[in-house]
Amino acid sequence: MADATTQQSSRSRDLDKLLLRPGHLVGPAFEPGTELRDDLQKYVRILVVGAGGLGCELLKDLALSGFKNLEVIDMDRIEVSNLNRQFLFRLEDVGKPKAEVAAKRVMERVSGVNIVPHFCRIEDKELEFYSEFSIIVLGLDSIEARSYINAVACGFLEYDSNDNPQEQTMKPMVDGGTEGFKGHARVILPGMTPCFECTIWLFPPQVKFPLCTLAETPRTAAHCIEYAHLIKWDEVHSGKSFDPDNPEHMQWVYLEAAKRAELFGIPGVTYSLTQGVVKNIIPAIASTNAIISAACALETLKIASGCSKTLSNYLTYNGVEGLHTKVTEFVKDKDCLVCGPGILIELDTSVTLKMFIDLVEDHPKLLVSGASVTHRGKNLYMQAPPVLEEMTRSNLSLPLFELMDKFPKGVVHVTGTAGKGDNRQSCLRKLRVAFKGVDGITDTDMAGGA
């Protein structure tokens, strides 16, 4: 009983039951014991991407799930409308960076936990930064940001010569998302389970109204608002871009929309709706965030410790009518550009870095413009910031083969923007480069390629 009493007074009283005792429904590598518990605290580092509704919950849940080394990245500042669910923030915090306040508040409550905040865009961090973490947990509301982090994490995955993913290079991700009473939680083990891009069809693009409807046959309040926002604004304020966070701009759009609605006899234009349409506001409530974050934190604990089997691989929650949860096992897209072995590009040893960048820009499957190139964490060429651009500019005229230390083949990462027109977004692509006529390249090596 002496042992039991000590446990009673231990802070990890409840978690210990799962971490110290053997079980039958556990992960394959589960080795229960105090060493496991201590390792989780000492060596496991978790990155939480996003410090909004999900991020706040995630930080709390992870801090109370046995992890002690957490970091959080978010570029936003706190707004009043966050306070109905982002429970780490108070009225006096409005205007401060979310990541910093969230980290501070959780550390105040849960002693022994260290949380490092990063107040910046996810693209601002070097790839090196992301490689340091054991697991990346996503609490985001944007498809673009998810797609970016997914590409970063999948970029670390290496394949052996038989195109089998190498487990030690796998960077697991746990992704949560919510919209009103609905949400999802998923586990992504790159190379083993489908990545975000494999199942991108789960996130159909937002329906935008055709411009001719806005201009000629508006029918709804939203049409009037989008007319004011997308057409009228530019007509009147030539050159000045619309800022959704500027209340005067918002007020202007609202008044213009109201005028147009009156002209066409269309009801329903309100200030609240104007904000909703223009900022594409996704309704949010505390309970869905709590459920989805909890599921994500639990999966993170299970992946890190093996203390139970994990979700395989996609959980949907729908609380609109009663309550529905469903688990779907999606399958990997074997031709996925992001988590697959990567596109194979064959080059002559004489091809310079500049030529390579041009080639990437024109490649029909890539179309990456403004490309920056890294190899094994080394910057070969960086478009920005100017200091780095200047430092790496001289590489442009050198053969890529030399820059890659004359290895016959290797993996390079290319970051830039992809897409056309309004659809441009940051992207990261992994490319397998092989040099022709160099020893070590055989026909069989090339067979599994592009």
Binding site: M1, D3, A4, Q8, S10, R11, S12, R13, D14, L15, R21, P22, G23, H24, L25, D61, L64, S65, V80, S81, N84, R85, F87, R90, E108, V110, S111, G180, F181, T217, R219, F264, I266, S272, G276, I281, I282, P283, I285, A286, S287, A290, I291, S293, A294, A295, A297, L298, S308, K309, T310, L311, S312, N318, E321, G322, L323, H324, T325, V327
Partner: protein, 515 residues
């Protein structure tokens, strides 16, 4: 103080001002404020619930610091209810928060009338015996009750209330109320004035699909002795008929009409779900009937008379390709009919109230309006007493769950969550709560579960050794992540769930059991 409208903006966009008002009027009592209870209240407090009362008799120990965010190092040794309450108050100063340092079990035994003051009682981490007692108390006082339990990687949520009527259920996918195959006179007339075969291509491609489908439905019915397309073949022919009216390939309105043609195939009149509510004995109202049932009685009269077999029109139409003029006029037409229907129902409500000796104006126009707009979606939930479920669950359902692979872990947890309570009643500890007696506890829990199954009449059913083993491993641990999940579930009650929700934290194949 933040402008409440801004602070609650993201949720107002879901449940509107009416929902928010209901939330702000509610008073909630929480029993036991471990992480499961605390996390529940956290979400409600953030949303702006009216008042909370936290009941817990324990003091904060070290172990609580590892699973409960509402207590911190400085709380050690202090009453848990007090610390949790203080943190919750900090989250939202508009909420009235108080605490009572008392063990819920004592309160249930000694002061049953205490519970009648609340809108909702949330009872967490109670064992079977206390649940049964509290359930009777709340049922008699007509107070809504939610039970919740987190136990290792398992848990459950169960609602208990005699009757819960929901007007604004906001279901996700619900057929628009367009009356395409049963137009009222004004819509008929409006449609007749439109020429589908107009030679003006601009007018042709801006005729909204409502008008196209009303016309097509009429044309079809004429050629098929008044019937609507019903077989797969007929439906295909109907779509072909629409297609044949197109004069150019880019006519989005016709494409929308083909896509929306299923709205023509839907049967006329009211759903079986609504019929069941109208036929409920409660719709024969008397002076003590609730407002909801008075309105149902009025609705029943409306459908039998003015409605001609249909419920009041909802009055809104989805966006569709159209000229602005036609769309706005159609919108007005639907709205006018809806308003007219509301007036009729309102008059009937007033008459009924008078007849049963109540103030004819005791139900506001706004409530009647919302009732009419949602008439097709009304929901009534009734719940068995928990004792009844425990003693005599629906056996065929239970047998089905026990043999269905999708349900096997969830139903296993259901049995084992009850078995651990029997275990603790017998041995004064939960299985696996202390190290050292694991093997003995496993075999004891197995015996307990087997006898429970046989008491329920499920002879021959077995639970896997793995799951029994797992349950002992949990040793009654209350994990933060599981508690936060369960707490989130309790908070969300638009249409309360029916049945018992079993959380399965192993592979997340959680299930709702109807027993």
């Amino acid at each position: 103080m933040a402008e409440p409208k801004t602070k609650y903006d993201r949720q107002l966009r879901i449940w509107g001002e009416q929902g928010q008002t209901a939330l702000e009027k509610a008073s909630i009592c929480l029993l036991n404020c471990g992480p499961t209870g605390s996390e529940t209240l956290k979400n409600l407090v953030l949303g702006g619930i009216g008042s909370i009362t936290v009941v817990d008799g324990s003091k904060v120990e070290n172990g609580d610091l590892g699973n409960n965010f509402m207590v911190s190092e400085s709380s050690l040794g202090q009453p848990k209810a007090k610390c949790v309450c203080a943190f919750l108050q900090e989250l939202n100063d508009a909420v009235k928060a108080k605490f009572i340092e008392e063990h819920p079990v004592t309160l249930i035994e000694t002061n049953p009338s205490f519970f009648s003051q609340f809108t909702l009682v949330v009872a967490t981490q109670l064992v079977e015996d206390s649940m049964v007692k509290l359930d009777r108390i709340c049922r008699d006082a007509n107070v809504m009750l939610i039970f919740a339990r987190s136990y290792g990687l398992s848990g459950f949520v169960r609602i208990s209330v005699k009757e819960h009527a929901v007007i604004e259920s906001k279901p996700d996918h619900f057929l628009d109320d367009l009356r395409l195959n049963n137009p009222w006179p004004e819509l008929k007339e409006f449609t007749e004035n439109i020429d589908l075969d107009t030679s003006d291509p601009v007018a042709h491609k801006h005729t909204p699909y409502i008008l196209i489908l009303v016309k097509m439905a009429k044309e079809w019915a004429k050629g098929h002795s008044g019937r609507l397309p019903s077989t797969r073949e007929e439906k295909r022919e109907f779509k072909e008929l629409i297609k044949s009216k197109m004069i150019a390939l880019d006519e989005d309105n016709y494409k929308e009409a083909i896509e929306a043609s299923f709205k023509v195939f839907a049967s006329r009149g009211i759903s079986s779900n609504l019929t069941r509510i109208l036929d409920d004995t409660c719709s024969e109202v008397e002076s003590s009937s609730s407002d909801f049932w008075v309105m149902v009685a009025a609705l029943k009269e409306f459908i039998a008379n003015e409605g001609g077999g249909e419920a009041p029109l909802e009055g809104s139409i989805p966006d569709m390709t159209s000229s602005t003029e036609l769309y706005v006029n159609l919108q007005k037409l639907y709205q006018a009919k809806a308003e007219a229907d509301i007036l009729v129902v309102e008059q009937r409500v007033r008459d009924i109230l008078k007849k049963i000796g109540r103030d004819p104006y005791s139900i506001s126009k706004a409530v009647i309006k919302s009732f009419c707009k949602n008439a097709r979606k009304l929901t009534v939930c009734r719940y068995k007493l928990i004792e009844e479920e425990f003693n005599s669950p629906i056996l065929p359902e239970m047998q089905k769950y026990l043999t269905d692979e999708e349900y096997s872990v969830a139903v296993g947890f259901y049995i084992l969550l009850r078995a651990v309570d029997r275990f603790s009643a017998n041995y004064n500890t939960f299985p696996g709560q202390f190290d050292g007696a694991m093997d003995e506890d496993i075999s004891r829990l197995k015996t307990t579960a087997v006898s429970l199954l046989s008491d329920l009449g499920c002879n021959g059913s077995t639970l896997t050794e793995d799951l029994i083993n797992e349950m002992c491993r949990y040793g009654a641990a209350e994990l933060h992540a599981v508690a936060a999940y369960i707490g989130g579930l309790i908070t969300r009650q638009f249409v309360p769930m029916r049945g018992t929700f079993i959380f399965n934290g192993i592979d997340h194949k959680s299930q709702l059991l109807s027993l």
